[in-house]
Symmetry: C2
Subunit: 399 residues, 2 copies
């Protein structure tokens, strides 16, 4: 339905430009400060971390989004601007002001996101110089994607075109985040831009729905960092009829596609991950329970470790379902692993273990199907396998 | 207050005997079937897994405990007797019947616990022969502890004596379980015996309370296996005044001591663990929030990985507290790591990072203190560090 643009970036969207610099915030000397700008004001929406401890960047951006309008996003990588006392907000306000002055827009129309180590104040000398030096380019999207990376090993970006009514619109996104086995610290940031003409109320609802089936399905609910945020900016340059809840079906699907693509690329690049795990729960009692069940399996350490070892240990899937909070009746339960049925209506089904092990070993994406047999709701969650490397990476992060 | 008995075992308790055999249930040929017997009937209580999928062993034992009376426990190691359809209950009933016949007691007075791989039926030929062969010994406790082990590297047992009123009583326990990073499959079993004379209602309440501050503080709530259970048997042979809610304070403390000792020995032997983590939360708004907060930190993968790398990355502690569900105000928050204050009232405190890293490196037990500054409730949770070995062990379990 959608045509993905090969090696697309967020600046594929008409009217958006971007730039990035090496400001010296990351000790590695890589790109670490980026700016995204729309030449006209955008209708905007955001989804933020539910962590009770929030970065000042998150608090400020949420305030700015109260009026559902934005024109620029500034991103800092290497420092979370969290848990630094009042300095956090003082610095956030200064940064937004500097960007506004550079772009000649109101500070209220600038959003700020930051990611990196908690508890260290922003190196403001570097940040100020960086903002001054950034040059916006019409093809600057790839630089922005690179600048956002922390422990990411690949940049995460996608763009697609879709025809809505009489006009072609572009929806593109850029994201970072790899600590997705439990994303409680490895901040997830995602920015989506579009030239579609979208009404503010619908934009907010559409973003919530897209996040619910993408980023929220790669993370156990509540396992949010102090800095997580997703921003969506629509500049309306494509024109045409304005999009709202009555005619927004195709736009919603395009947005879902972009968010799911980015969410999956995060887990695929999960710290130490070698395989994607897709958990498909079917026939749950209701939607909420379907989501719970799928997430519990996708985030179970023991399931992740079994997948890493290509071990068809389906008992771990059953145990995760059983503790997920969803209603589960053993006598109704069915489990498949890479299309091989292992349990049906509560009974183990004999299977060729060696053949299945080989299939798991050769899969980039292991698919786990769980049929609960109690209703008509379904959900899909994604995770990655747990390798020795996860512990190696995470035992040496700040130091 | 309590005198721990050096190299104590559960058969230190007068009136209890135990035995174990190599029945051939474990493929390794180790001890795998054990029996605990009291020569007189006991007042008994149990706490069971909250997993919706339960082993038939758990279901049957819970039924037998409805009358608060038991005289024997039979334990099978190497097979969970879970997710095997109706055969699970048929086999459980046969086992309990065989043990009852051997001991000349009622089947209702026999409890059954099992641990091991899910989805495989019990090898009943081995089990029947094993039950026949078991010889009960007055010093058989250590054998029982060894027979219960699966991936445990050390046996877990403790016994203590305490004077209550005019009589000396013994409380002793034996446990297994090492997959305690998230104990969703690595079944936790624990049996506690005492010769104290205890009233049934109080025994049940005392066990609940002891489990709440011991085994439940090493596991994230709900992360239970299909087979978890804790049994407490009191045979009353010590005599004296009967113990109830009015005079049960010392007994409760002795029981807490035994359960906490066993719980800590589980996390210390956690799969791949090299360090114990003790998380002390103080000044939380209420008891429930104190527990939530302590458990969230103790079970955070990123905290565990940081401790493994001796990395004083206290931002991860803050992020775990923030998502724990407990009320957290950044401006009130204080964090210490091995007695070094890193954050006070929301502000980072400068510290000697090299010195603290060395202290973390040299600690068998890393202590994390979190002061929430919002009330007067506290809780302690225990976890272990996350090493590369965890993934190695858990990616090759069934196969």
């Amino acid at each position: 339905m959608f045509s993905l643009i090969p090696s697309g970036s967020i600046t594929d969207v008409p009217g958006f430009s971007s730039g990035a610099v090496r400001a010296g915030i990351k000790s590695t000397g890589e790109l670490d400060l980026a700016l995204l700008f729309s030449r006209v004001p955008c209708v905007a929406a955001g989804v933020f971390t539910r962590n009770r401890v929030k970065s000042a960047s998150v608090i400020l951006s949420r305030e700015h989004l109260a009026i559902a309008c934005a024109q620029a996003i500034v991103v800092i990588s290497g420092c979370a601007n969290a848990c630094v006392g009042e300095r956090g907000m003082v610095n956030a306000v200064e940064i937004v002001g500097l960007v506004a002055a550079k772009l000649r827009i109101s500070p209220d129309d600038v959003l700020l996101a930051s990611t990196g180590v908690i508890g260290s104040p922003l190196p403001m000398v570097c940040v100020r110089r960086g903002i001054e030096q950034i040059v916006l380019k019409e093809n600057g999207g790839h630089d922005m994607a690179r600048a956002m990376m922390t422990t990411d090993t690949v940049a995460k970006e996608v763009s697609l075109q879709v025809r809505i009514g009489d006009v072609d619109i572009t929806v593109a996104g850029v994201a970072k985040g790899v600590g997705m086995i439990h994303p409680d610290m490895a901040t997830m940031l995602c920015f989506v831009a579009t030239d579609a003409l979208v009404e503010a109320d619908f934009l907010r609802e559409a973003l919530k729905r897209a996040v619910a089936i993408s980023f929220n399905m790669i993370s156990v609910d509540g396992d949010t960092s102090t800095n997580d945020c997703v921003f969506l900016l629509a500049n309306g340059l494509a024109g045409g009829e304005s999009i709202n809840s009555r005619n927004g079906g195709v736009f919603q699907e395009a947005l879902n596609e972009v968010c799911i693509h980015l969410a999956k690329s995060m887990v695929r690049d999960g710290e130490g991950a070698t395989k994607l795990i897709e958990v498909v729960v079917e026939r749950a009692k209701n939607q909420e329970e379907a989501c719970c069940a799928a997430r519990a399996v996708a985030s179970s350490l023991l399931v992740k470790a079994a997948v890493h070892g290509s071990d068809p240990n389906w008992g771990r899937v059953v145990a995760a379902l059983g503790r997920s909070g969803a209603q589960v009746k053993e006598s109704k339960l069915g489990i498949c692993l890479n299309d091989v049925c292992l349990m049906k209506e509560g009974n183990a089904i004999p299977f060729d273990a060696e053949k299945l092990k080989l299939s798991l070993k050769n899969s980039d994406c292991v698919v786990i199907n769980a049929e609960l047999g109690l209703g008509n709701s379904g959900a899909i969650a994604w995770g990655c396998d747990l390798s020795e490397e996860y512990a190696t990476i995470n035992s040496a992060y700040t130091t």
